[in-house]
């Protein structure tokens, strides 16, 4: 059973690898979160799978999902997506055993339920941003890290409600996604200023709150996000400034990191080999912010404390 479910990251599903399919769907839906893209890719794979029985279906689905989880490029959102896709399967298998429906009908039901989910997912970011709106007060100075669609939406909505506020955005090396955020904010007439990642401590004095997005929300209510988020949260906590997170429920991951080195990504090996003449920084793309640094999370199911997130996650994956 385990042997059949295991899969290599370069295994081909319907002619192309998991990663290739992911990239093509991502190109078609630039505004959709990565975890939802993964679910879409998996549903796409299953639609073209031509499996003939429920057990064959579930085995193929597990294999495809595991292919995403074992990608070298995997991120927390990909794991969240794969688990989001796998989660309803056992229940569906039980249902298939009960009714006398034909396999093709069962299959149709599954795809319909996923389509319904995709429609619901589209509302999630909107709801999360709306839930966070009351926390953006007039004359607020906000520090934002990296480019996050959910945070952008929240700021745009606040601006739409005629709230006056200023935004500092960190440059977010090495991706420089902060520049993109500043450009977009200025396009919407929101005063925005780019600062160095190293200037967070300096700027924290004049900031009222920090708002961050998340790549994944883990089981204890902590977040996995673009590298640099953790240190901002630490500085914010030291300065007694609230640290808020805007996130959609499909980013909740059943992971429980104990520390920075306990993340599901390949970690750089330090002091292993010399750099030679060209010196370049070595760091992973993400870090983990523990729950004690997070004040509140604005999600589509409401404004939650980190421990509230744990309860939601437990309900979702156990209920």
């Amino acid at each position: 059973m385990v042997a059949t479910a295991a899969s290599a990251p370069d295994e081909k599903f319907g002619g192309i690898t998991a990663l290739e399919r992911l990239r093509s769907i991502q190109k078609e839906n630039p505004d959709v979160s990565l975890s939802v893209i993964v679910v879409m890719a998996l549903v796409d794979i299953m639609k073209n799978s031509q499996t003939k029985s429920t057990s064959e279906f579930s085995e193929y689905a597990t294999r495809a999902a595991n292919a995403f989880k074992s990608l070298p490029e995997k991120t927390a959102s990909m794991i969240a997506g794969a688990d989001l896709f796998l989660d309803p399967l056992p229940k569906m298998m039980v249902n298939a055993g009960k009714g006398s429906e034909v396999f093709s009908d069962w299959l149709k039901n599954i795809f319909e339920s996923f389509d319904k989910k995709f429609v619901a997912f589209r509302e999630f970011r909107e709801k999360a941003a709306t839930n966070g709106l009351p926390f953006v007060k007039d004359n607020a100075v906000i520090l934002v890290h990296s480019y996050s669609r959910a945070v952008m939406l929240l700021l745009r909505k606040a601006h739409g409600e005629n709230k006056r506020f200023k935004v500092f955005v960190t440059e977010t090396s090495p991706t420089s996604s902060g520049t993109r955020a500043v450009q977009e904010l200025r396009k919407f007439q929101i005063p925005a200023e780019l600062i160095l990642d190293a200037a967070v401590g300096f700027i924290m004095d004049r900031v009222d709150m920090v708002i961050a997005g998340a790549e994944g929300v883990v089981q204890n209510g902590g977040i996995i996000n673009q590298i640099g988020t953790y240190q901002i949260a630490v500085v914010a906590k030291a300065a007694n400034k609230p640290f808020y997170v805007v996130t959609e429920q499909y980013k909740f991951v059943p992971l429980f990191p104990l520390s920075q080195s306990d993340l599901p990504i390949p970690l750089p090996k330090y002091f292993d080999s010399a750099d030679g003449d060209k010196i370049s920084p070595r760091n992973p793309n993400i870090d983990y912010t523990p729950p004690e640094y997070i004040s509140l999370l604005f999600t589509n199911v409401g404004v939650l404390t980190p421990s509230g997130v744990s309860e939601e996650l437990i309900k979702f994956f156990m209920g």
Binding site: Q219, N220, L258, S310, I314
Partner: protein, 412 residues
Amino acid sequence: MKQPSPNANALRVASSMRLDDPKKRQKAQKQQSVDRQLAQKPVGLFSHLPQYEKHDNIQARLKKQENIHPIVLSLGLKYQNFTIAGGNARCMAMLEAFKRVISDYVTPSGTSLPRHLPSVISKQVDLLSNTRVLAASMKTAIRELKKEIAVISVDTSDENAKERLLLFIENFQTERIWGPGQVIADQALSNNKIQDGDVILTFGHSSTVLKLLLHAHEQKLQFKVFVADGRPKLEGKEMLKSLVAAGIKCGYTVCSAVPLLMKEVSKVIIGASAVLGNGAILSRVGTAVVCNAAKERQVPVIVVCESYKFLDETRLDSFTWNEIGNPDDLVDISNRGPSEYTLHTSTAPPQNQSAGRLAPWRNLDKLKLLNLHYDVTPAHFITALICEHGIVPSTCALSIARLTADRTGTDF
């Protein structure tokens, strides 16, 4: 509108924790099956909890001897002498004894098994609670057993009823105690919570932690274990013995040296006597100190605990409830190594080496000894709780217990 009764807002405290009230104490003494002598030098701060002298011959002090099964009596003595200690071991042994009690049970004429057996069980439990305070694990097992007896219909033949109860106990032992320990070990390892190169600190003896470490060793993981230990019971020695026997690299230290050691440690893994409703854990005294030191150094603390030890109670400190052990245990320092005495040879050698200077404490007016068994570790010291349902924050223990109870149709 209905008027609330005047006592509705009064503080509700279990009468077993209100023994500082003389009436309540007399009543409690009258009800218990053993005639126990009050402690000669009780500690005032803990006067709300039972404080008795230790009795070596508990059988002679039984009030109504005919009701206690001999196997329960011998079990009680083992509890008292700490031959059987630890939440899981005590619960397992108690259930084993109850199997005998139930198979030897004969329903008296004029009553039926579901009506009469619970009172017999209660008698046995009362005796056990007089040897040591009941552990959370035992309370859960007793509650579930009584619930099972209650649903047996009156017309069931004794034979069928007994068979059903014996099967129930067996299932409880495998599905709630033994099995989950196995699952916890699997959960921890499949989530890579023990990795190559880890230095793990544990405190005292815990069967669940031991199971996890042995399992990790079987999987050929390379790690080291420090066993921290505390007086007077020094249960960590037992843990150390089992780990060394399995071939795991070990170190042994006392709990007062833990802060010094913490910079070498990558993870703290501890067991628990109970997980409380607010996410705090109740564990062998000394655990809170170890967890505090870990928190100070940002070392992750993992608690492993089977879900049948999750309690629907909240406690903020170790004072409201605790078990007060025999103060004489503190006097006995016979486990000190001989080398420690040679340092003092310049002055006169101590008269009685095993008893030390505290020996005449009962005659010293102003001296009282307090031997607490448990302490409460607050939730913010704990990074993760691993139970058979997965890895969760310890504050979620109750919702986990409720969810699984909902799913299996039992109530929590």
